[in-house]
Point group: C2
Amino acid sequence: MTEACRHFVPGPVWVRPEILDRMKGPMIGHRSKDFRDLFVELEAKLRRLFNTEQHVFVATCSGTGLMEGALLNTVPRSVLVTTVGAFSERWESIASHLGLEVDHLHQDWGQAVDQGGLADRFVGRRHHYDAVTITHNETSTGLMNPLETLARTVRDGASDTLVLVDAVSSLGSAPILFDEWGLDVCLASTQKGMGLPPGLTVFAVSERAMERARAQTYRGTYFDFVDYEKNARERQSTPFTPAIPLIYALDAQLDYILDEETLERRWSRHVEMRDLTIARCSSFARLMVDPQFASPSVSTFEPTNGMTAAEIQAFMRENGFTLGGGYGEWKDRTFRIGHMGDMSVNDLSVMLDTLAKVTG
Amino acid sequence: MTEACRHFVPGPVWVRPEILDRMKGPMIGHRSKDFRDLFVELEAKLRRLFNTEQHVFVATCSGTGLMEGALLNTVPRSVLVTTVGAFSERWESIASHLGLEVDHLHQDWGQAVDQGGLADRFVGRRHHYDAVTITHNETSTGLMNPLETLARTVRDGASDTLVLVDAVSSLGSAPILFDEWGLDVCLASTQKGMGLPPGLTVFAVSERAMERARAQTYRGTYFDFVDYEKNARERQSTPFTPAIPLIYALDAQLDYILDEETLERRWSRHVEMRDLTIARCSSFARLMVDPQFASPSVSTFEPTNGMTAAEIQAFMRENGFTLGGGYGEWKDRTFRIGHMGDMSVNDLSVMLDTLAKVTG
């Protein structure tokens, strides 16, 4: 790493200079042979990233676009939205805009989705849900839901209820085993755990979700999964012109993640960064989430040393470091430390040394 | 210009190296002060580009996304689609996917929209259209519709029919006077006349189109104009995380277009490039469109020297130049020369010298 990271925010993350350089490649057309070759390699790499043999795609949009896309393509009528913070609540807002029937399984901020409560929703089949949404890593609180368990609960509960996952701040930071866990749509924008600029969203789609999409009467155009699949299969390309510079960066960064650092070491580094952050902040701040579900990529704290969250952020800014602010209903009470992407444990440690001085 | 352009395709266009460099700026958050400052400047520049005092926005998506967005936000029921080639026909496909009532005003490929035929659609108000779509510059044929005249025809025809314009390959190449011509939505992706990488779409929206959007029951989420307007006004930002590297490039290129080259000189250069291209190709190829509507940014030819279009492209490729292939129903018969973006007349002339040798 040639340059120290000074930005400890929950995205957009610092991007390595060599990856920024890769954006400067030629502006090839997305129907050219050069692009098709790149696309085929990218698909293989994305399958390794999601641990899937099923469909993988890349779209030019933010994560929110693909959340809308997931609902458009797979939910004809009703969806159960599990909420544990601001970003999981976004599923509800998008589903309401689409005119879907929305049911809720709500937990207080800082808690994980309640597995028992989720299982209860399927007992006696009182409800029928076309899909359940799960936010893997809730960026507003710094909580990682037990996705494998929750996905299994949905599949045990109803064989025809799909599992839609927002993995925006977890993909690249924590394990996602798309096939093994039985997920149906899993999406992530690139400016978080993947260590890339914003502008692209990568997503995996199960064959049964694709079947559902084919049967939908209305899927729109820009987020039509059937069109994505058809273009990938027949033309080795995206349906529409993609953000070529960001595609180059994604391709190069996937090589780094998969073959240089490796997924296993990357996941371990994130756990190490989380544990270091929590340990070093405990004397002057309180972690806001249930510790067994503390996120490996972002930690949210409330100060206990008499300072406000804003004062702590200002102190760090004066010392050349950016921390994240609180979000939504925790905006004023908390600050957030992003420890995701390509920062090194050493970069984080240097920042935490300075942060420790707030108590002095 | 530090490097000669060798790619004469109708987009994605060659991008100047200094603009590519600008993509490497820091990955700021879209709720930060730095971004808000950038956004306010960008809005002012986009208003100059569109010649409007009304709403201007930038979205992270291809032009197709915003075509869908324009229909979602402004058409409750029925739309008249004017078609003169493949890209104008795309409006029809998107409108059909949205379940709208679609009527057509069709012209053969190579012809402009018939002004008299358009006016007839409003006589006696036999039809009521919420909007009419017009493709300013039809990239598949190399034809520029007389947008000012057509827009006036719609406004004279019905006071409540909006004018939705795809300016994908004209914005930055040819005049667009959004307010003066009475347009309602005008969109353009950045990888054509603006000389930028793909990944962003800029668009202008009239106040009456915004009123229509506010009354729509269904606008979706990712392309919701009301949300774009609210975020611009209240937060000086985009609703969702934008492609930051591409925003930097856009900002820098708008400085170049507006203040270094100037719009007037840019428009003249494109006319000069068109006239040069048509003059130099006339001995071995036939221009496919009505000459009075020949596009300033792309020209489509059918060879008359006994060679196939594919052979001409191959000859040029061997000499280090890329030409565009035919598109859609003209795919095999024609080749296209893109003369748009930041290429110089000299770059084009050097290419045309080589192309002239195909007759030899």
